[in-house]
Structures are given as C-alpha cells and as structure tokens.
C-alpha cells in the first residue's frame, strides 16, 4: 500500500510538471520574442514542483519504509 501511495504522489507531481510545460510552450508559441524570460520562469516553477517530489522521495519514503518494516 505504501508503494501505491508514493506512486500516486509522484503521479500528481508529474501532472503538475506537465501543466507548467504546457503553459510555457503555448506562451512561447504566442510570443516568440519572450522565449528567454519564459524559459527562466518555467525553470523556476519546475524546480519548485520538483522539490515536492524530492521531499517525497528522500524524506517521506525512507520514513514510511522504515515504519512499515
């Protein structure tokens, strides 16, 4: 059950990352002259969402696995 829970968490993160990418790409397609600024902002948003995944993988998962044992 723990594995399914972690998997659902990671599913949420992946969907979030994909949505940021989608928004960034449609904005870049509308305004190609703003691609530099959009790239920077997209990378910043990506790092914040990535942080949730890293917290899950490195803080939550070992604690859960150690608790389940």
């Amino acid at each position: 059950m723990t594995a399914i829970g972690i998997g659902i968490g990671i599913l949420g993160v992946s969907i979030g990352l994909g949505m940021v990418g989608y928004a960034a790409m449609s904005a870049m397609a509308r305004q190609p002259e703003a691609i530099g600024k959009l790239q920077t902002a997209m990378l910043i948003a990506l790092a914040f969402i990535e942080l949730v995944f890293l917290l899950t993988a490195f803080v939550l998962a070992p604690a859960l696995v150690a608790g389940a044992k």
């Binding site: 990378l43 790092a47 990535e50 942080l51 995944f53 890293l54 490195f58 803080v59």
Partner: protein
C-alpha cells in the same frame, strides 16, 4: 586494460560499482570524499577565474572565459536589480559565489562518484549560511524586534492575538523549512542523478553482460549526462535566485525609486550632450 576501461566507465557514469552481485550501490559521501572533491572544484574555480582575469585589461573582452563570466555577471545582476531593487547590487558577490561554487561542484558530480553537492551536510551548510545572512540583513534593516515583528503577520485587533501567535509560529517554522527546501533541492537533484545513473547502469549490466563476473555491460547511465548538465545549471541559478527572493522579502525599502533603469554609460551621456547643443 579492461579494468582501466571498466573503472573509468563506472567513474564517468557516476553510478557506483556493481558490487559482486549485490546490485548497484552508490558511494556514501564521507568527510574525506566531500573535502577532496570540494578541493577539486575549488581548484577548477580558481583556474577559470584566473584565466578570465587575464582578459580584463582589454577595452573589449576577447578572452572566452572573460566573456562567459561577463555574461554570468550580467545575468545575475539583472536578477538582483529586478528582484531586490537598485540596492540589490550589494548582494551580488554573495549570490555569484554561491552560483560558481554550486555549478562547479555539480560539474564534478557529473564525472565523479561523489561530490560536495551530493552530500546533504554540505548543502545544509550552504543553506544555513544563506538563510542566516538573510536574517542578519533583515535585522540590520528593520532592527531585531522589527524583524521578528514581521513574522507575526498583519496587525490584528487585540481580541485576535491568538491568531497572531499562531501565524508567528507557522512563519517561524516556514522560515526553518527554507533551509530544508534549499538544501534538499540540490541534494535531491544531484544525488538522485547518481542513483538514477546507478540504476541504469545495472539495467545495462543485466541486459548486455560482457565479460562475466562483475559484469559491466553498456553503461546506460551515460545517456543521462545531458539532462544532468541542465540540472547543474538550473540548480545553481535557482539557489542564487531564491537567495535574492528571500533578501527582497526582508529588505523592502519604502522609498523605492523606479526600477529597471539601465545603467547609463558614457556614450549615452555624450549623445545627450551632443544633442543638446
């Protein structure tokens, strides 16, 4: 010869060793390994900066290292002035030091089994220093009591004091969480890259077991190198940017002048003087 190739391949793919059938593990960072690779990264930084310094005597930079460092400086200066304001240049050396150290330590992580930034203690140290500096700047700008008062949220009427207390506690916890998030971000990206490379190397060794025994196969971890390089750049930029954001939150001056003024150089002044005659 094969041993050399195998060791070199394993080192380069940064995936750790297939230890005799136990599967791929990756190196645990120890004090010695972190210090050694930190010294390696430091030497690289010094070499790059001293090569760049030679190009400073030209009026127009031709030295490639100088040009790259100028681009880096302009990028970080844009960020600082845009995020913090005109007084943001004061924090630029701090941010640039962090950027250079994190970037070159991450580069070492691409080619070495462990690196300073793959060690949680090193990242936590960097995060504590930068958040501690933000607190210091906040206390210098607003005074010690004023700095803690800004944690308590907006001023509420006397009957709602318990809410202010709760907001204060949550804000203090969130400030402590900044250390955790800053350090775990870099650690997770770099160490996660090592673990992913180790896993891919293990897949390669199972799929194409060459030379029996401790089979190496094709080290698939190589294919992660481009995205790991992007992660190097992004993580370095992100640490500096978040440091600037935290500084801007505590040192917001009320008498801000208009932002976004490009720096006027002497040619603009000459053009203005020539046009006004």
């Amino acid at each position: 010869m094969y041993e050399l190739f195998r060791t070199g391949t394993l080192l380069l793919a940064a995936g750790g060793e297939n230890g005799g059938g136990h599967g791929a593990y990756h190196f645990e960072p120890t004090l010695v390994s972190t210090s050694f690779y930190f010294l390696v990264a430091l030497v690289i930084v010094f070499v790059v900066l001293s090569l760049a310094k030679k190009g400073f005597k030209d009026q127009v930079f031709k030295n490639p290292f100088t040009c790259m460092l100028e681009q880096l400086y302009l990028f970080l200066e844009n960020l600082a002035v845009g995020i913090i304001g005109p007084h943001g240049r004061k924090y630029l050396p701090f941010a640039m030091t962090f950027w250079l150290m994190i970037f070159f330590c991450n580069l070492v992580a691409l080619v070495a089994p462990t690196a300073p930034t793959a060690d949680l203690s090193f990242n936590l140290g960097m995060a504590l220093i930068s958040i501690g500096y933000v607190q210091w700047e906040g206390m210098k700008t607003n005074g010690v009591f004023g700095h803690f008062k800004h944690f308590a949220g907006p001023k509420l009427p006397f009957a709602l004091i318990p809410i202010s207390l709760m907001i204060f506690v949550i804000e203090i916890i969130s400030e402590a969480m900044k250390n955790v998030s800053l350090s775990l971000r870099i650690f997770g990206n770099i160490d996660g890259g090592h673990r992913a490379a180790a896993a891919m190397n293990e897949i390669g060794s199972k799929m194409f077991p060459f030379a029996g025994g401790n089979a190496t196969g094709i080290p698939f971890g190589y294919f992660l190198l481009p995205i790991k390089f992007l992660t190097c750049l992004v993580q370095a930029m992100l640490f500096s940017l978040l440091f600037m954001v935290y500084v801007s939150l505590v040192t917001s001056h009320e008498h801000e002048e208009e932002e976004g003024h490009p720096r006027h150089n002497e040619h603009d002044a000459e053009a203005v003087l020539a046009g006004s005659h």
